[in-house]
Structures are given as C-alpha cells and as structure tokens.
C-alpha cells in the first residue's frame, strides 16, 4: 500500500491526519456548504451582508416551497426524469446487443466498428449540433422530450458499447463455444448465458447514463426551446434570470437539481465508480 499506512507512524502523525481530514473536506466542499447555507436563509440576511454567518432564521421549507410554488421546478424535474430514464434503458439495451456482436464474434469488421463507436463518443458536440437539429426538425420531434431522448440514446450507445464490449471480452469464451457445439442458437446464448453474466456492467452503465443525462445542459438548450418541455438544468438557468438578486431562491433551485444524481451516486456508489474507472486499472 502506498503511501505508508498511517497506523505505522507516530501518534502525533496519526492525530494530525485525523484532524487534517475533516478540515480538508470542509475546505473542499466550502462552495457547496455556502450555497446550502444561502438556500436556507431569508432574503433579508443577504441584503445586510450576513452571507456566511448563522442565518437569522431557518427558512429551509419556505425557500424550497417558494421555488416549487413560484416556478415550474416540478415540471422541469419531471421532464428530466422523462428524458433520463428512457435514454438509459434504450442505450444500455442497444449496447448489450452491439457489445455482444463486437466482443464475441470474430469478424473482420469487429475492431474497425468498435473504434467507430469509440471515436464517435469523443467528438465535440458542436460538430453534431446543426445536423441533429436538422434531423429533429424533419422528423417533427424538435422541441419535444422524445426528440431529445432519441439523440441522447444514440450518442450514449457509443459509450455504452465501449464499456460493454470490453466487459464481455473478459467473459470465458469457452463457455460460449461449448454452448454452440451443443447447438444452442445465437440469440439463446445471448439471452440465457451472456446477459446474466453482464448484470454488473448493466447496473454500472444505468447509473452512469442516468447521471450523465440528468446533468446534460447543452443538448437540452439546443433541441428544446419550449418552456414546458425543458429539463431541470436549463430550468435552473432560466430561474437564475428570473430571480435576479434573489440568491436564496437560486441556490435552493440549484441544489434541488443536484439532489437526484447525488442520491443515485450514494446508493449505487460501487457501480458508479466501477463504471467510471473501467480501463483505469488494466493494461
């Protein structure tokens, strides 16, 4: 283990480490903490310059309630959910199929096609923007939730394929060979043999894609202009314009947008990190 375990060091060093840990964390999360404090204080505090001290009164419920009452925050949150969940299901399902094709079959196009998915995944969004708008206009789904889902699902299929293919490469290939010799059909092998084995990868991808899509801002601004279909990230930005100088409400709305991915991260932490760090350990 590196660095040297703290237990093998002097008591003083251990004590210093145990104090340094919370201090460092406090400094690291200071911006977040500050915005949380702002979101629970009354507007009058900010006006008199009490920004970082103890709030004169705790108004958590009032402030967050006001965000819901005064704005379409609830609608925005629902829209985000309607965008993130179908995207997640669609791209992960498609990637199971493409990943299987690229990992299990030995054909000449396997590697070039895999690289096509990988390369597409790293492309800057701006080079896709105008043609995607054009496609959406022609399919009459611009400004709608399904229009955004279509693009996201297609784009995320690239990342999911990269992930799935690498995961499936690690499966014992003899297992599939022997099933083929027994005369099991290709679809049956996929469904009954391979899918149960890649469940952890599916879980990791679901968490990741959900978070990515929840936090998407660019595609939502490009593909959706109608206020009633906006997701929360764009909604929060709009609120920022509406609540000029009402920082307690802006911060409450911002934190609201951050809660679901944070919650998702905490309950699915293992899968989330496994997904993000894929490839960081092998090679």
């Amino acid at each position: 283990m590196f660095p040297k375990p703290i237990k093998t060091r002097s008591r003083a060093a251990q004590l210093t480490y145990k104090i340094a840990l919370p201090v460092a964390l406090l400094l690291w999360l200071l911006p977040l903490l500050a915005i949380f404090m702002t979101s629970i204080r009354p507007a009058s505090d900010i006006a008199v310059g009490n920004v970082f001290g103890i709030p004169s009164s705790f108004q958590m419920l009032q402030n967050y309630g006001e965000v819901f009452a005064k704005t379409d925050a609830l609608r925005y949150l629902l829209n985000t959910l309607l965008i993130a969940v179908p995207t997640m299901l669609l791209s992960v399902a498609l990637a199971c199929l493409t990943g299987y094709a690229l990992a299990i079959y030995k054909f000449r196009w396997a590697l070039p096609l895999f690289f096509l998915f990988v390369a597409g995944n790293f492309v800057p969004f701006q080079i896709l923007m105008l043609p995607v708008v054009d496609i959406s206009v022609r399919m009459e789904i611009i400004n709608t939730v399904p229009g955004l889902v279509m693009f996201h699902a297609a784009f995320q299929t690239g990342f999911c394929t990269l992930f799935m293919r690498n995961f499936m490469k690690g499966l014992p290939f003899e297992l599939i060979e022997s099933a083929r010799l027994e005369g099991v059909g290709e679809l049956q092998i996929f469904w009954h043999l391979v899918l149960p084995l890649v469940k952890p990868a599916i879980a990791a991808l679901c968490v990741l894609i959900f978070t990515f899509i929840w936090n998407d801002f660019f595609w939502a601004t490009v593909l959706i202009q109608e206020d009633s279909n906006l997701p929360i990230t764009v909604g929060v930005r709009t609120l920022n314009g509406e609540f000029v100088q009402q920082w307690h409400l802006v911060s409450a709305a911002s934190l609201l947008a951050a809660v679901p991915p944070v919650f998702m991260f905490f309950i699915m932490q293992k899968h989330f990190i496994a997904g993000l760090t894929l490839g960081a350990t092998k090679g």
């Binding site: 911006p31 493409t98 990988v118 969004f125 923007m129 709608t144 601004t221 998702m264 090679g283």
Partner: protein, 396 residues
C-alpha cells in the same frame, strides 16, 4: 468422374412461409411509416385540435411501426437458407444493426454533414417546398474565420483551458494519495470528496458565479476579513468599507476565463482523484516492499515504483481531462456567456453563439468553427485509438 448431386440439407432450407409472412409484415409497416401516418392525421384522430402536442404521439406510433418493420426483417433473414448455412457470419450484423444504424444516423453522418455545411451560407431554414435555401460559398467561411479576432480569442482560451485543466491530474493524484489510508470513516470521506463530479456543471457554474460575486459572494466575504471593516454610517446602518475593493473575477476581461477554469477544475479534480484511488488499490505490494528493500522512500518511491504502475490511470485521467477541457460549454454558458466582450469565449461556445445564439443563425460559419474544433479533437482521438489498437494487438 465425381459429379455428385448435393442434396439440399433440410436444416439449411429456406422456410418460404416464414420469409413471405415476415416480408409482408415489413412492407405493411414501412408503408404506414412512409405515407399513412402524419402529425395532422394523429391530431384529428385524437380530436384535440391544437390543444395538445400531437407530435409526441405521432412520433411514438412511427417508432412502433419502425420497430415492427425491423423485427419482421430480422425474422425474415433468419428464415433464409443463407443465414442458416453461415450463422456465425450473419449473426453479428443482426446484433449490430439497430445500434449501429442509430449511431451512424445521429453521430457519424452529422460529422460529415457539418463539414459540408461549413462550405455554405445557410440560416437553417427551408423554403415552402421543403427545398434547401442555402448557397455554396467554398472556403469563404474559413477566410472570414481566419480574420475574425473573436476566433483567435476563443482559440487562445481553448489552449488556456487545455493547459490549466491538466492541473487536475497532479492535484487529483495528490488528493488520492492523501485519502489512500485506512482509518474509520474513510469511505465516506472518499465519496464526499468525489461529490463535485456528480453535480451538474450548470449547478457548479451557478455556485461559483455566486462565490465570485464581489458584493455578497463567498470570495468577497473572505476578502473582507483581510481588507475591509464594517462601519456604522450616519443613518445607523452597517456598511462595509474596504481598503482594496474585492475583485470582480467574472466581470473582468483578464480574469474571467481563469475564474471559469478554476470552477471547472473542481469536479475534474474529483474525477482524477477517483481514477487514481482505484489505481492505487491495485498497486502491487510486492513491488513496494522490493522498493523499500532498495531504500526507496517518499518521492523516490512514488516516482520510480508507484507512478509506473499507475500508468493506465494516468492515461485515462489525461484523456478525460483533455475531452473535458475541449467540451467546456455549460460553465461558460452559465457563468459569463462568453463575456465580458467575448473575452471568455471558447470555440464550443462561440460556435453555439454564432449558429443559434441571439438569433444570429449563421449555420455555415458556425459549422466552420465546429470543424476547426473537431480537427483539434481529432488529434487526441487518433492518439487514443492508436493506443487502444496497440493494447488490442498485445492482448490477442
């Protein structure tokens, strides 16, 4: 004289009924898709006349038709003798078809479309007959681009982003080393340190925009501990008097970009940290012990023994940081919108601004900017693919 007649093996014969029925279903589905279903028809069927958005139901019905057609096509193919004879050659294409087709339509083809737009002048509209209204202008957009001072500002800022964003890698490593210990509650500490990455960049942007606010932000608060004192004015109100006024980071042309990059580093450091923490988990203890026997300690141990083993983590960290730097858009859009006077623009935001921002509608010009950005990214993509290719060669 061996003129044997190969009798068709029953297992490999085409099942005519299966193929015919499937082809028929496919044809009907495609016919519906192409000409029967329209937004106005669905609207009439729903009887809602403009009150509800008919586009979504129409689209869903279309997708269902398409799915039926695809399923029927697959069913037809699996009935063919060709398929049955050589399953292993056909099967991967069936598995790939939908995902690959989808990806090509939405990601691969648009790249080439954008590049072709960049040689035209177009505002994104079609005339009443559905014909394209743009015109071909050759290299005109690029000529204008290379004389555009805003383009050079954006390019310079992109380079700044790329260089300064790289700080996330060593800082992430340092944090990971700091947290790679076994004490009570360390797991919670690790996940709390990772927190900023999970939050949307828009929210991070808003948090920092507020923190930088010179009147009541976090930074001005800290500033006032050193340079300001609170005085009671004649009216009896408390006012703040500063010997040096707190800086307006985002309002200043010289510092706006640095302010945004600092905000962007926050989640990026967290990402690099988690990559290194996983990497450190897998560092072999044998090699560390061997290093200890050789008298390696501290920095020497880190540089000669640990870092070489963290190479894969470093590689991924650099790749995601480069991509993150070139994709920076959300934060600029929330914090400064490229301002003041375009000083914090990057290519990604400038392209958006030219193409759809503020009703400019310069699709051709925007596409030229996007193409330049794409070419820059292509350098990194090629390098990454090359590395992957070498790994694949070694692996097999």
């Amino acid at each position: 004289m061996t003129s044997h007649v190969t009798r068709p093996d029953a297992r490999f014969a085409t099942s005519v009924s299966q193929v015919t029925i499937a082809a028929l279903v496919m044809a009907i589905a495609l016919y519906f898709l192409s000409s029967v279903i329209s937004t106005s028809m669905i609207q009439e069927m729903l009887g809602l006349r403009r009150q509800i958005d008919a586009r979504v139901p129409t689209f869903l019905i279309r997708i269902c038709c398409l799915l039926v057609a695809i399923a029927a096509a697959f069913y037809a193919v699996t009935g063919l003798s060709m398929y049955k004879r050589n399953k292993l050659a056909w099967a991967p294409w069936l598995f790939l078809a939908v995902g690959l087709g989808f990806f090509i339509v939405y990601v691969i083809a648009p790249i080439f479309q954008s590049i072709s737009y960049s040689f035209t002048r177009w505002n994104g509209l079609y005339d009443i007959n559905g014909d394209w209204t743009g015109e071909w202008v050759g290299l005109q957009n690029y000529r204008v681009l290379f004389d555009d001072p805003n383009f050079y500002t954006s390019l310079k800022n992109n380079v700044l982003w790329l260089v300064l964003f790289m700080l996330a890698v060593p800082i992430g490593l340092f944090l990971a080393l700091f947290l790679n210990q076994v004490v009570t509650g360390i797991r919670i500490y690790k996940s709390l340190f990772f927190f900023p990455f999970v939050i949307s960049q828009v929210v991070v942007g808003l948090i920092f925009a507020w923190a930088y606010n010179p009147e009541f932000g976090l930074l001005s608060e800290i500033w006032s501990w050193f340079f300001c004192e609170t005085k009671e004015n004649i009216m009896g109100n408390l006012t703040r008097v500063c010997s040096v006024e707190p800086p307006s980071i985002l309002g200043d042309e010289d510092s706006a970009t640095y302010g945004i990059i600092a905000a962007g580093l926050w989640p990026q450091i967290a990402y690099c940290m988690i990559l290194y923490l996983t990497g450190l988990n897998n560092v072999s203890s044998d090699q560390i012990e061997a290093g200890q026997l050789d008298g390696a300690k501290g920095w020497k141990m880190l540089w000669h023994v640990v870092l070489p083993q963290l190479k894969p983590a470093t590689f991924i960290a650099i790749v995601v940081t480069v991509i993150g730097a070139l994709r920076s858009f959300d934060m600029i859009a929330t914090m400064t919108q490229g301002g003041p006077y375009g000083s914090s623009n990057v290519l990604a935001y400038y392209m958006y601004d030219q193409a759809v921002g503020e009703g400019v509608g310069r699709y051709g010009y925007g596409s030229a900017i996007a193409t330049v950005l794409f070419l820059i990214m292509l350098v990194y993509i090629s390098y990454f693919l090359l590395r992957m290719y070498q790994d694949e060669k070694e692996g097999s």
